[in-house]
């Protein structure tokens, strides 16, 4: 079962879902659009190992944006703090950026 956008808004109001900051304009029929945070990290080494700590470096993302390149992984945070003690969240991309 998936929540409707209206049910998401109601759950935010009742405290069962936390989305902070929250704007009704970002509600979709069955989802909420989250935004890209302004902090980004990349890995210092090109070759990564799933059994060890892989050192990272911070990248500054300015108002003029950041061009992400192929063959490199970028880790961002969501601008919003999100979570729920009742519902299971699924993080998805948006079709417009997927294209």
């Amino acid at each position: 079962m998936i929540l409707s956008g209206i049910a998401i808004a109601e759950a935010v109001r009742s405290g069962e879902i936390v989305i902070e900051p929250f704007s009704e304009s970002q509600l979709g029929p069955n989802s909420y659009d989250f935004r890209l945070g302004d902090r980004c990290i990349i890995y210092q080494n090109h070759e990564l190992d799933s059994h060890t700590q892989n050192p990272t470096a911070d990248i500054a993302v300015g108002c003029d944006g950041l061009v992400v390149k192929p063959d490199r992984l970028y880790l961002f945070n969501t601008l919003e703090m999100m979570g729920s003690t009742k519902f299971v969240p699924i993080i998805r991309g948006r079709s417009s950026t997927g294209r």
Binding site: Y43, H46, E47, L48, D49, S50, D71, R72, L73, V88
Partner: protein
């Protein structure tokens, strides 16, 4: 509706979910962690032939721009619930993409599930490592029988839609 970890456990006890071998400490709040089997197919660019790679305990480095077909070490399935095969956030953060376009399993399919692996940067992986998680969902409506195309699979299975490589194309490589 997605099952809780507790309900996954109960369904196992009822025989409505199969996870073999099963470890109770790999249950998550809404999923179960599965592990990487020791054999991987490294697909060639033509997507028809491949190298069969046996992972050694020292690991194997997956390379970008290459498709790897691996499989779960566990036999997983359910005749009642729908499975979705998901990656793990800890490995997604290392650029490992797993079953991106086809994460939906069909009810009734019990097998070692084939994993479609790609990486953004080179990544060393190890046999038996926890590589993903499977979630189970209740379905709405009367169940349709599963056609069985991939039911009972053992080991990683390439696409069954067309004739695949002749045995002469298969090369065995030790990592």
């Amino acid at each position: 509706m997605i099952l809780t970890g507790n309900e996954i456990r109960s369904a196992l006890d009822r025989g409505e979910i199969i996870i073999s071998p099963f470890r109770s400490d790999w249950i998550n709040p809404n999923s179960y962690n599965y592990s990487l089997d020791g054999a991987i197919l490294q697909m060639h660019d033509n997507l028809e032939s491949y190298d069969l790679i046996y992972l050694q305990p020292s690991g194997f480095t997956l390379r970008p721009r290459t498709l790897y077909l691996a499989c779960t070490a566990e036999i997983i399935g359910s005749r009642r619930y729908i499975t979705t095969l998901l990656g793990r956030s800890s490995l997604g953060r290392l650029g490992l993409f797993l079953n991106v376009t086809a994460d939906l399993g069909h009810v009734g399919c019990e097998s070692q599930w084939t994993l479609e692996l790609t990486v953004v940067q080179p990544l060393r992986v190890y046999p038996g490592m926890r590589i993903g998680q499977v979630a189970f969902w209740e379905q709405l409506g009367r169940a349709m029988p599963y056609g069985g195309r991939y039911h009972g699979d053992v080991g990683p299975r390439p696409n069954k839609d067309r004739t695949l490589a002749a045995a002469s194309h298969l090369r065995t490589v030790n990592s």
